[in-house]
Symmetry: C2
Subunit: 164 residues, 2 copies
């Protein structure tokens, strides 16, 4: 499956009230009235420290590598719960599988880039999804999902190396 590296470094982030740097995954889970289980804990820590959205499959693989026993269904349910609680966000990359990223600032939204070559999804922190202008009357917009598709920098470099 896909590796867990990100092809470009994420920019520095400003800590916010919702999730100050020193609030541990354990505390954030407990604060929502959820039980701190090994799967939830490991997944939330992974998402908090991750720089790009991860698929269920990638997370499962990482858990396995870390020697954390887990069940497919439990992982689905843990991810659902994290999203419900606002601790994670679900991203549709244009494939059939969802991807998940940790939520630092509940108010902060950003666009994503999906590489159609390698399947990586990277966060475009600087790019806000367009606001809901010129919408037919009666429509209420909850959120905007903007996904750019194309070729990532890593795939571009790989191309150049192959034909110099």
């Amino acid at each position: 499956m896909a590796s867990l590296q990100t092809p470009y470094p994420a920019p520095a982030r400003v800590p916010d009230d919702d999730a100050p740097r020193h609030t541990s995954a354990r505390e954030r889970i407990a604060a929502r009235g959820g039980r701190v289980t090994r799967t939830r804990l490991a997944v939330l820590e992974m998402l908090q420290h991750g720089t790009h959205p991860l698929s269920h499959d990638e997370i499962a693989e990482a858990l396995a590598s870390a020697g954390i026993a887990h069940d497919r269904v439990t992982l689905y349910r843990a991810l659902d719960w994290l999203v419900e609680q606002g601790l994670a966000r679900r991203i549709a990359g244009g494939e059939r599988a969802w991807r998940f990223e940790g939520v630092r600032d509940a108010g902060h939204r950003h666009a994503h880039f999906h590489c159609d070559r390698c399947g990586q999804v990277v966060c475009l922190e600087g790019l806000q999804p367009a606001p809901a202008t010129a919408l037919p009357s009666g429509f209420q917009v909850e959120r905007a999902d903007l996904v750019l598709h194309g070729q990532c920098a890593a795939c571009g470099r790989r191309d150049e190396e192959l034909r110099p």
Copy 2:
């Protein structure tokens, strides 16, 4: 399954060179060197006349209603072929299933609105997906998919009727 009505009328469209109004589905298929089969023909006609993107399932249902015998797999392949040929476009509505719409103008792109209540996807002809500004170097953007999520006008009205 979902009905085939659209909750708001599509604006008038200007015919273009790629697909002048008088070019029949039959002619467009043949022009690409494809064989004109009943499934391709019916699907392309449906997409050309439709005002919002349809899922495989909705198309299958419409074919069945029209008494056009078809196979699940054949329909998948017909849709793939139409997309390859530039006659249809695939839209990720944020669910697991793709949706398809006819392509009138190959150059024209627009955003979509996905109603999280009823699942309908409607075209926002006036809203262009944001261009690729402020992208990390080395990234090449092919296209932008912008999907607004929220509640459509029909669902809003239904709400008001229930609690007046």
